[in-house]
Amino acid sequence: MKRPDKFELNVHKGSTAVVLKLRGSAGMGEADTLRAKLEELAETRTPVIILDLTDMDFISSAGLGAIIFGHLKSRHHRGEIRLVNPQPEVRRLLETTRLTKLFPIYVTVEQAIA
């Protein structure tokens, strides 16, 4: 296991969805940043928030909690969060926690937007 990259969160706003590209490790030190961004997007009534997990190599329960928080906030205005391309360890974590039942997982961002 290589040393994880620093957490980065890049926002790409499209006409029908906002894509958050996450990179590195989303643990206890980064969850608040993710939570705040998801809350901000939910408050602006973003209908679809796509989390591109391609470059995210770690997430803990704190990071998962931030995503669930965003999901609950988004649902107030019928918005939703979709996940894209989690790496094997992250995908396994989503399956272990059964959060795959809560969040649809797509192979590509394009499929998640469609």
């Binding site: 296991m1 040393r3 329960s61 998962l64 909690g65 360890e89 272990t96 926690t97 959060l99 809560l102």
Partner: protein, 146 residues
Amino acid sequence: MTTLSGKVNIVSDLQAAKKAQARLMDKIIALGYGEGPAFAIKLALEEGINNAIKHGNGFDASKSVEIAYNMSHQEVAITITDQGCGFDPGAVPDPTTDENLEKPCGRGIMLMRAYMDEVRFNEQGNQVFLLKRNIPDTCGISEDTS
């Protein structure tokens, strides 16, 4: 055979926790642990320390968390102790049930148990012992999640 052991004391602060976690993970990776076991240990370490700071010590800056470790190529054993009153791990609801899926918190203990080979709490509930054996080419999740 290389065996590393020691103790680290940190204040009840998430940044201090991250630094301690990173230093321990550097040692574990240097011992040759693969992606799966390293992910599992990092996860359990984070959940254990996070619980100790947040729920155990309540972010009280006057309280510390002790992380004791003993690691070799074969296994990693970590004991995390906080200065809180403790809790009953058996009373924590199962976060994987349908009614709990949307709760943002409460997954830490389940994840430690799912990813480590042994997870034991002391009677008071302010100390957790974590053990991971280094079995190459396996995923991080243990077969027995009880």
